[in-house]
């Protein structure tokens, strides 16, 4: 392959595959998780739980399989992504196992392990089937429609289900699936493909206001449409989290593609407008804000609907955990409603302390960092935008849910990636990691080296 005119190819230094290091770190992650399992049992009743080997070896076997697929189909991939994700997924499993022990309804470690297994299957399948992620670029609009379709699916009568006040589930067989998790992936791919195609137009400067070059009015269409869809998600499905997640990711991808700060400003203004509008119209949005400002107020604490009880229980847990935590199995996660899903971060904070939370956030930050590094190292705009978008949506999701649970920002329900109980999110996030792995493989693969240095005909070895 020769360098295509117009696309810059930076000289890439020879990268090492570092497969051995990856295997070692993977084993290390599994050891940490098994240690955590043992610790839960010791904390609860002084015995190493019988399931430790099952869960530990089960997870270990799964990850070994994922590793082998990765080594075969994406040998140049980033060596850190899989071990980091394994660690977070494993800690999530341990926490769900631990919460299941308290008898809180809805927490099932066996289900979560099953979903993890399916997640690894999806991860492997993505790597095996998708030999070149640029194939996705051709599916830009298809995926855009798929994404929107998935997003509105819960609104369809009979299929859609409303759980805990949000209409974001569909029921298939005995399972509840949250299609927005998959919609999220499809839409990021769509945004990347669309923005790569249109970025030159969208970057055209219109009127200049103060120090900012505003885009042309007619180019506002896509932003307004995304904004409208986000608002629709918020209004029709009462899903504040997904609405914020999608809109924020779109704005950042738009900024990355067009390099225009004005898009960020327009996005922020639209977001504020939407938030204020929603706050005026919907009580549940206003309530979230009220709770954010004064969670400790007894009146809000005792309010049955839209009160601060859950948030405060999470904060009590975090406070009681303090610096080092109570130790696994020694806290009271049962006190926090939904401690196994939205509030798993608070439950983890009680038992692992702020030390454990710092470590977890660091792992998330590293995953995002590896993703962004892949984006920067990628050689074509679509890959850059897709890797950047996927990394950002992960960081943004962690920020929205963890920030909400710790009352840094108003609480909007979202899944804590790889930790919260829930199959859809696990599957979607494993696919997201597979895409990042695929792209990092492409980015880190050494450029073709000439084996002959003379003559006009060049033969390359890949």
């Amino acid at each position: 392959m020769t360098a295509t005119p117009g696309v810059e190819v930076a000289p890439v230094p020879m990268t090492a595959k570092r497969r051995g290091a990856q295997l070692f770190m993977l084993a290390f992650a599994i050891v940490i998780v098994m240690g955590a399992y043992a610790s839960v049992g010791l904390g609860i009743n002084g015995q190493i739980p019988a399931g430790m080997l099952t869960y530990g070896l089960g997870l270990g076997g799964l990850m070994l399989a994922a590793y082998l697929v990765l080594a075969r189909f994406a040998p140049w991939a980033d060596p850190l992504l899989l071990p980091l994700v394994t660690l977070v997924n494993g800690i999530g499993l341990v926490m769900i196992y631990r919460i299941e022990q308290t008898g809180q309804g809805g927490a099932s470690a066996t289900n979560q392990l099953m979903w993890t297994a399916l997640g690894v299957v999806m991860f492997s399948a993505t790597l095996i089937v998708l030999k070149d992620h640029r194939a996705l670029q051709r599916l830009t609009y298809t995926l855009g429609f798929v994404g929107l379709g998935l997003l509105v699916l819960p609104l369809v009568p009979f299929i859609g289900k409303e759980i805990n006040g949000a209409r974001i589930w569909i029921g298939i067989g005995g399972f509840s699936i949250q299609p927005s998790e998959f919609a999220k992936l499809a839409l990021v791919v769509f945004f990347a493909g669309y923005l790569v195609a249109k970025r030159d137009v969208l970057a055209l400067a219109g009127r200049r206001l103060l120090f900012i070059d505003l885009p042309r009015a007619r180019d506002l269409g896509p932003v307004l449409i995304t904004w409208g869809f986000s608002l629709a998600v918020l209004i029709l499905q009462k899903d504040l989290g997904s609405s914020l997640l999608l809109f924020g990711t779109f704005i950042v991808m738009l900024y990355v593609a067009t390099q225009r700060t004005s898009w960020v400003l327009i996005g922020v203004l639209l977001f504020l407008g939407g938030a204020i509008l929603a706050g005026q119209i919907f009580d549940h949005v206003a309530a979230r804000f009220e709770v954010f400002l004064n969670p400790e107020s007894p009146e809000l604490y005792d309010r049955e609907l839209g009160g601060s009880y859950q948030l405060m229980q999470g904060l009590f847990a975090l406070g009681s955990g303090g610096i080092l935590g109570t130790g696994l199995g020694e806290g009271h996660p049962k006190e926090i409603p939904l401690s196994f899903s939205d509030f798993i971060f608070a439950a983890t904070g009680e038992e692992l302390g702020l030390t454990g939370l710092m470590a977890l956030l660091m792992v998330y930050a590293l995953i995002v960092e590896r993703g962004l590094r892949t984006a920067i190292a990628a050689r074509d705009p679509f890959s850059k935008l897709l890797a950047g978008g996927l990394s950002f949506i992960l960081a943004w999701q962690v920020f929205i849910i963890v920030g909400g649970v710790t009352n840094l920002i108003p609480l909007t329900g979202l899944v804590t990636p790889f930790m919260s109980a829930g199959g859809s999110a696990l599957l979607a996030n494993w696919i997201l990691i597979a895409l990042l792995v695929r792209m990092s493989d492409a980015a880190r693969r050494p450029p073709p080296q000439a084996i002959q240095d003379e003559g006009l005909t060049q033969v390359f070895q890949r």
């Binding site: 900024y255 593609a257 400790e296 604490y301 904060l315 975090l318 009681s320 939370l357 998330y364 920020f399």
Partner: protein
């Protein structure tokens, strides 16, 4: 695009930075607020996560309070097998407070005492629930039961306390009406608050430990104190000293006189001190008080421990003879009336001091503290509280108190084959029609092993209650029970 990607990366960095800063703020700065918030149930759970030490009596042979491992959320619950009988001594271990021995020895029982530090460290490392030390009380369960049954049988209110006069070890402490501490030890704030509020609002005050927490006019039992000062004041005086005993004593600056009980005469107007005490004549002792003066009375009272709360394992109200007033008031306080207010525990110390040759021993309830590993952490060491009277005066008082039981007002306290010393009291309780009935005493008189104070509250034993008829028979049973359990 790399420039904007880097800026997006910085945005991610800032987001994670904010999350980390906030987690640190919550986990380190705000942690105490959240931990101590009353809506945070964790402190409440922690209270029940300790394998609390047991409370025993009879050298560990009788269990008064035990801990049951429920294996549930509130892991260790407290049970009191004979709750009602021991309620005022043991107190209770409630979700948000504790009382009695549960409070007084709380640090030993929950293992937070510095002596248990090493043990706690071991439990922490080996991940065992923290275990507290057991507390063994000086109570004699058999005598406690007799006292409780005797007092309860006729529906009386009052208190019985007994102790070993030579050591200060409390053998019996009963207060009635009582309550069931098990209802206050449930790990349920709501239920406990309801139960507590109900008990607290009860006009019979079942929560009150009548033996130590409230004072009552001691009536004629106080004559022993007046007699003690009378004898101390002049060593030549003795049981056979003749004293004036008019039918009515003229009180200076008043028009009313002070009569004997029921207006009766006391011998022929001139009687021996022994006779005056046997018959519990009011006039001679009222006269002594006026002659001795407030300062001397006060000084003698203080030597028995009055004027300050008696140092004890449980909270004690201050007993006092009252402020210095006119002579008429002095006459009345000398026979245990007016502002003279004593706890039953204080009157027990009067009897015990005389029994022990004039030396009052400091009363105590905790015999020993045994660590979770069986090692004794603390053991009671008897301690003197004060030197109330000289050995000589103590002997004279003892002789007279023996006469009171043999031939005086307290004949119903006699025990066959054992010489009992005692003094009755029948005290006017303010405006109430019925008097308080008292008895203080000890046995065997020549080598006392037990001193007792029985107090029956006004109105609970009829208007005709007297120390001799109401309190003395109960005292006899209690004395006998303690002596037999030796």
């Amino acid at each position: 695009m790399n420039g904007t990607l880097k800026r997006a990366a910085i945005a991610c960095l800032v987001m994670f930075g904010l999350l980390m800063a906030n987690v640190n703020y919550l986990g380190a700065v705000k942690a105490d607020d959240y931990r101590n918030d009353s809506r945070n149930k964790r402190a409440f759970f922690a209270r029940y996560s300790v394998d609390r030490g047991w409370i025993t009596a009879d050298d560990g042979k009788t269990t008064l309070a035990k801990t049951v491992d429920t294996k549930s959320e509130f892991r260790f619950e407290r049970e009191y097998p004979d709750g009602k009988m021991y309620a005022h001594v043991l107190g209770f271990f409630a979700p948000e407070s504790s009382r009695g021995i549960e409070a007084a020895a709380g640090k030993y029982l929950d293992g937070s005492h510095p002596d248990l530090l090493v043990r706690r460290a071991i439990d922490f490392i080996s991940n065992e629930p923290p275990k507290g030390a057991s507390v063994d009380l000086t109570l004699v369960s058999r005598a406690q039961k007799v006292a409780y049954d005797q007092l309860r049988a006729s529906g009386k209110r009052g208190a019985i306390v007994a102790m070993n006069p030579k050591t200060g070890a409390v053998q019996v402490m009963v207060s009635l009406p009582t309550y069931d501490p098990n209802t206050l030890a449930l790990p349920n704030k709501g239920k406990v608050a309801d139960a507590y509020n109900k008990l607290d609002a009860d006009e019979q005050h079942p929560l009150l430990n009548r033996a130590t927490e409230r004072t009552y006019p001691p009536g004629s039992t106080f004559k022993v104190v007046t007699a003690a000062e009378f004898l101390e004041d002049d060593p030549s005086r003795g049981p056979e000293t003749m004293v004036a005993a008019p039918q009515v004593l003229d009180l200076p600056q008043t028009t009313v006189g002070l009569p004997n009980y029921g207006g009766a005469a006391c011998g022929g107007g001139q009687v021996t001190l022994r006779y005056a005490l046997e018959r519990s004549c009011n006039t001679p002792f009222a006269k002594f008080g006026m002659e001795l003066g407030w300062d001397k009375m006060r000084e003698q009272a203080a030597k028995f421990g009055m004027g300050e709360p008696v140092p004890f394992t449980l909270p004690v109200a201050k007993s006092d003879i009252g402020p210095e007033e006119e002579l008429a008031a002095l006459a009345q306080l000398s026979i245990g009336q007016r502002n003279n207010q004593m706890t039953p525990l204080q009157m027990l110390l009067v009897a015990a001091g005389i029994a022990n040759g004039g030396t009052v021993m400091k009363p105590y309830l905790i015999n020993k503290v045994v660590g979770p590993d069986g090692g004794v952490l603390d053991e009671a060491s008897p301690d003197e509280l004060s030197e109330a009277v000289s050995a000589d005066v103590a002997d004279k008082l003892k002789q007279m108190m023996v006469s009171v039981v043999q031939a005086g007002t307290a004949t119903s306290a006699q025990i066959p084959g054992v010489s009992v010393a005692g003094k009755t009291g029948t005290a006017e309780a303010g405006d109430a029609p019925a008097p308080h009935a008292w008895f203080i005493g000890f046995a065997p008189a020549d080598d006392p092993e037990v001193a007792v104070c029985v107090f029956i509250e006004s109105g609970s034993a009829g208007n005709e209650a007297t120390g001799g008829h109401t309190a003395a028979p109960i005292a006899r049973e209690v004395l006998q029970a303690v002596l037999q359990s030796k």
